[in-house]
Amino acid sequence: MRAYPKGLLTVAVLLLAVVLCGGVMAAENVKVGIVLPLTGAQAKFGEIEKRSFEMAAEEINAAGGIKGSKLELLFEDDTGKPDVGRAATEKLISRDKVTVLTGGYSSAVTQAATAVAQQFKVPFLVTTGSADEITEKGYDYIFRINPTSSEYFDPFETLIQKAGGIKTMALLYENTQFGQSSAKDVEGAAKSAGIQVVVKEGYQAGAIDFKPILSKVKGAKPDIIYMVSYVMDAALLMAQCKELDINPKMFAGGGAGFTLPEFQQKAAAAADLVYSATLWSEDVPYKGAKEYFNKFKKKYNSETEYHGAEAYGSMYVVADALKRAKSFSPNDIRDALAATDMMTAFGPVKFISYGKKKQQNKLPNTFVVQWQNGKMETVWPEAFAKKKYIFPTPAWKDRK
């Protein structure tokens, strides 16, 4: 009986020591909570962003950190589900006591996570989650570096005008918050540009067979097929468009999946000449963009794209705000974030309010890329174009 409490005491002392050490270490580091899909169907995007966050944090810490203390990144996996994202955010705030939050990939998860951050009054810089609603709720602790998904279509409008001859559109989107929100905006934009939307269909992500909706699209003979899809759905959609011999003048992807190397590898020949909206490519004229691309490639031996650049940029924005903040209290960090005006590898970052949006970053340009011979080339706007866009897309049987 006597040995037992003694043992317990030892354990208690040890625990205390661990807790104290932990406490001391925590005081040295600035904890940044990051919510990302590290498992689940969106894990690929989560991985690119996580690596970019880590790379940026290493650079910042190597350059002296934040006012003498180091950045400590605490990643939580949201598995792509809003309820898990919500719980993960709560854990980061109440148990890990993070100073500031960033990350947020899918719109549905981000919406749930930002609501928690706002409730606890912890500043949250949204990296991706692009549905318009997220910055339209009047939340004052929420900032977003990613332009809203309604702006993805903007460069297409001018490109379509220039190319000419596009009168009808088929609009396919995955029925998630991101897909629905984008589809609604694109439909509105198309209407005001005088393009008739002849087919508008949502689909369940992860489907094996898209032929039911593609048969409908084929019957409607649209001039442009605009798809809002994640990477593997995007690849299957294009492969099956080729199978069914669907020949619009233009295949266009609304960001997300169409810019990943995996899309091109899986869809192979079917990916050729597909256009995609993008927010960033390694050719953008922002300082550090190309360096980031090369560093990423060297470090991880794989390619990065706009999601990674966003994460990399987010980390620098957070670090910048932390450096400028009067203290690490949520309120001071919030004020510092609100005053952000800087250049990152992702582009200029400044949080402004316009329309219904609050504390939303607006990029001067978004871009259109086109897959040409297995390479993704920036083709629009003209001032940034590396290659001339190929239009109209030739019929499948006339290729090669």
Partner: protein, 290 residues
């Protein structure tokens, strides 16, 4: 008309594959009386085997010959060392074997994630998106091949269960385990063989799906759910029922996608699931009697 035919063809082809996914689960359900909630995850493992072999230049159809025995072995080991010991243990929960399969599913997913990361993998073949046209209706070549191989496997399975001694023992165990034991059947061994067979069948489905789909560690979950729906549709333990269930699900999804909207694909499948539970409890087995 063209659209309707195309939809039916698409549903039928997908249904054949679904049947093969469901049949293993229904077999396990019939004999062990448990739902194998690691079923889709086992298929995922088989798909990774097809992927690895493909990087060495092996055609996914030939990888059937490797993936099926490997998964058979995996099934046998799981049953022998993880599930059967649980029967002897008294717990407060009677379904602890089912809970164990959930755990096994998670372990399989995470082990694969550890080895292959979360990247999307795909099996590239020259015929992945090859098609032929029959009266204006397009048939995807790999899905058509998968359909016929699935039918062949199902027929073979049926013959095996009806005609062979081992098959009869499996059916006897499914009907009444105690009686089967009294008749001298080693039911412990039968459960091990059944799990192996179920795993091998879903491995076949995985290899057939690989050329048309993509591979990532988390793809097991949705397919476990589909297999479960098919098992309930077909009637627990019924091979013929599983074929009907698979084709019904494939058709329902396709027709629903065309005429209601593809975003309702899952809802249509689950609505049928609920309708069968309400109006035809016992599934198609009640109609076919086998």
């Amino acid at each position: 008309m063209g659209i309707l035919l195309q939809t039916i063809v698409a549903g039928l082809l997908k249904g054949g594959l679904y049947a093969l996914i469901g049949i293993g689960m229904t077999l396990i359900m019939g004999v062990m009386g448990i739902i194998n909630l690691a079923h889709g995850q086992m298929m995922m493992v088989a798909m990774y085997i097809a992927y690895v072999l493909n990087t060495m230049g092996v055609d996914p159809y030939f990888s059937l010959l490797v993936a099926m025995p490997t998964l058979f072995l995996l099934g046998v080991l799981i049953q022998k060392y993880l599930l059967n010991p649980l029967i002897k243990v008294d717990t407060i929960l009677p379904e602890n074997q089912v809970l164990m399969t959930v755990g096994i599913g998670m372990v399989l997913t995470e082990v694969i994630r550890f080895i292959f990361k979360s990247d999307y993998k795909y099996v590239t073949t020259s015929y992945s998106s090859a098609t032929f046209f029959l009266g204006g209706i397009s048939f995807n070549v790999p899905l058509t091949i998968a359909f016929f191989i699935a039918l062949a496997f199902t027929a073979a399975m049926f013959w095996f269960l009806i005609k062979t001694d081992l098959g009869r023992s499996i059916r006897a165990t499914a009907q009444d385990k105690d009686a089967a034991t009294l008749m001298g059947i080693n039911t412990g061994r039968i459960t091990v063989v059944t799990m192996g067979l179920g795993a091998a069948l879903v491995a076949a489905a995985g290899c057939l799906l690989a050329p048309v789909y993509y591979i990532f560690p988390d793809l097991g979950g949705p397919f476990t759910a589909k297999a479960f729906v098919i098992t309930i549709l077909g009637g627990l333990g019924s091979t013929v029922g599983a074929i009907l269930g698979g084709i019904t699900l494939g058709m329902a999804e396709s027709l629903g996608a065309t005429y209601l909207g593809m975003e309702y694909e899952d809802i249509v499948g689950l609505a049928i699931f609920v309708a069968v539970l309400l109006f035809l409890p016992g599934g198609f087995k009640r109609l076919t009697k086998v």
